[in-house]
Amino acid sequence: MPNNLHDVPVTAQAGGGGIAAPRPFWLAAIVIALGCVCLYAAFGLPQGARYAGIGPGLFVTVAGAGLVVLGLILMVQIARGERFQAQDAEDASGSEKSDWPAFFTALAAALVPVLTMQAIGLPITAMLSFTLVARSFGSRKTLMDLVYGAIVGVVAWVLFTRLGLQLGGFLPIAGF
């Protein structure tokens, strides 16, 4: 998704890096689009009310208009060659190159609960998510990860259900 605009040449080379900086116009486009969604929704809402002078729509309008304006400013900044320095995290370096297979494996791990949580319950969902994340971080002991994930899932389900959390059935598809 990101970084597909590498082909835009940048004339000003800042910092002596010599690498053409990507221009992520799509970033500004998303902000503007979010603003437009708010504005579209706000049109269906009353802007004024009898006493207050403003109604439920005004705040939505303000948020939407703000996003559109800020998105346009960001667009201008990007056109002028604004540079984005990825944040440093504890186990990651902002200057590292992206490892896309790892990213998509981790994304899949986050998607698994959407598909399986309701149907096959927390323990198995946890097992699958756990294994996928561990894999995206370079673990190749898949069998062990499945076991660890199952243990974490089962223990968490039992513990939190006891504490009064509504986590659904243990294995809903089998009727538990």
Binding site: L34, C38, L70, A92, E96, W100, A109, P113, A134
Partner: protein
């Protein structure tokens, strides 16, 4: 002396065995997550929220305060011993502390950090004890216009101060404001931005947004740029704690760090990062041995560590007295109050004195617990880092999923987790600050209610918004936050 007797009542609450247990649990959890990468105090408290439905509010908040303080203690340990700051507030500690450890003075660095945290935490808690009721007293006179002006000031200062770019700070804020409008409008009962999805009628839960941004966003980001940290743990076995010289060089930075951290934490400027940086710079300027900075100056550990603990106490003042969160952690604490049907603010002091004073008293208790937990046991805590990273991050995702699923058992929430998590990833890659999203989300609805109440009282005349001296002053300061940096840039360009 009324404060004193209220505080004594508070100790009566905090010293109940059950509450002592929760304070200890919070302190242990806080220290652990301060040491572990990938999970901080805001995320931890958010994940604990659903679990606390069966816990009395006083006990829950005592535990949360333990997490908040504990994270500040734990963060310093990893900064010093392996040069990976566990929390943003311990970044400065890593600069000098790790150098000290490398030259065989790790034990002294740990000691000045832990004792400094204790001194600062205790002084800041004393300040909190006396300042909070005074501020609450003033806040009784706040009108809706004043509250609205206060939230506007919080918005602009957060967006300007956090992160590297004002525009990106404001984009983060406005995304939060937009998310905050989702759901049934409190005042008119109309659904907004729900697009017919009934699961959205209740609005966007702060927990869902926070967990997605902090846990899922972080996991996606770190997975894509994972760099296994090969820095080895520096052993401290057999080393002496602080020498007389170390004490002499530490006590002033502790006090100065407290003086910086406490008021800065109370201001809407995002918590502990800025005061720790300021404290570090100040100590380097004042030091008699500036040449030691960068090579293991003890002042550079003592000052920032004191500052970050004092800031942790500072954020409780606006939170408890005004209901105004000044950092991501404060935002989730506010959400916790709302979960219990409590609204922090001046009335909390009169309606729930047990809770407020029990919480404040527990901060004194927690500081003692944390000093005992951290100073002699630092060597045990760092063993947590032996958990292999793949399984650690995998566990964090599982708990994040449980945290979100446990809120309302909704698949829509799980889908939001993926989408907002992706947004969190993009925000990290393109350097957007995350705290303004949360502040916008939780303060936006509050700002809107105050705005509409103020306007309704003024029969729609916008002049009512600046009708009190305080609201006029606050809005002016908010404007200055916005305009001064732009003017300075212009002046520099023309000079």
């Amino acid at each position: 002396m009324q404060t004193f007797s209220l505080l004594m009542d508070g100790f009566g609450v905090a010293l109940q065995p059950m509450n002592l247990f929760y304070a200890l649990l919070g302190s242990i959890l806080g220290t652990a997550i301060g040491i572990l990468p990938g999970i901080g105090p805001a995320l931890t408290i958010a994940l604990l929220l659903p679990v606390t439905i069966t816990v009395a509010p006083t006990s829950a908040f005592i535990m949360f305060a333990g997490v908040l303080y504990g994270a500040m203690y734990g963060g310093s340990t990893t900064s010093i011993l392996i040069n990976t700051p566990g929390e943003a507030g311990s970044m400065m500690t890593a600069l000098e502390g790790n150098k000290m450890a490398r030259s065989g003075r790790g034990a002294a660095a740990l000691a000045t950090a832990a004792i400094g945290s204790f001194v600062a935490g205790t002084i800041a808690t004393i300040l909190l004890t006396f300042a909070a009721p005074a501020v609450a007293e003033i806040a009784f006179y706040f009108r809706p216009a004043d509250y609205f002006a206060l939230t506007v000031l919080a918005f602009t200062s957060m967006a300007v101060v956090m992160g590297t770019s004002r525009v990106r700070g404001f984009i983060a804020l406005f995304i939060g404001l937009a998310l905050g409008t989702i759901g049934i409008d409190e005042m008119s009962g109309q659904p907004r931005l729900t697009f017919g999805v009934s699961a959205l009628l209740d609005g966007m839960e702060l927990t869902v947004v926070l967990v997605s941004l902090f846990a899922v966003g972080e996991i996606l980001y770190v997975a894509s740029r994972y760099r296994s940290n090969s820095d080895a743990l520096i052993p401290i076995k057999g080393q002496a704690w602080m020498t007389k010289e170390d004490w002499k060089r530490s006590w002033k930075p502790w006090l100065r760090g407290t003086a910086l951290g406490f008021p800065m934490g109370a201001l809407p400027a995002g918590g502990s990062e800025i005061p720790t940086m300021l404290s570090y710079t100040l100590e380097r300027k004042l030091s008699k041995h500036p040449e030691e900075f960068g090579h293991g100056a003890i002042e550079g550990v003592a000052g920032p560590e004191a500052a970050n603990n004092a800031a942790a106490a500072g954020i409780l003042i606006p939170l408890l007295t005004l209901g105004l969160p000044t950092s991501a952690t404060a935002a989730v604490l506010l959400a916790a109050f709302q979960n219990y049907g409590l609204q922090p603010g001046p009335f909390l002091f009169t309606s729930n004195p047990q809770l407020v004073w029990g919480l404040i008293a527990s901060l004194y208790v927690g500081n003692v617990m944390l000093l005992v937990l951290n100073l002699p046991l630092a060597g045990i805590w760092v063993k947590l880092l032996a958990i292999p990273r793949p399984q650690l991050y995998a566990g964090i995702l599982v708990f994040a999923t449980i945290g979100i699923w446990g809120v309302s058992g909704s698949v829509v929430d799980l889908l939001c987790m993926v989408v907002i998590g992706l947004a969190g990833y993009v925000m990290r890659v393109y350097d957007f600050p995350i705290a303004p999203v949360l502040i916008g989300l939780i303060l936006g609805p509050m700002a809107e209610v105050q705005l509409r109440t103020a306007l309704a009282a003024g029969q729609g005349n916008p002049a009512v918004l600046v009708s009190t001296p305080l609201s006029a002053i606050l809005l002016t300061i908010a404007m200055l936050f916005l305009l001064v940096p732009i003017l300075l840039k212009r002046l520099k360009a023309s000079a």
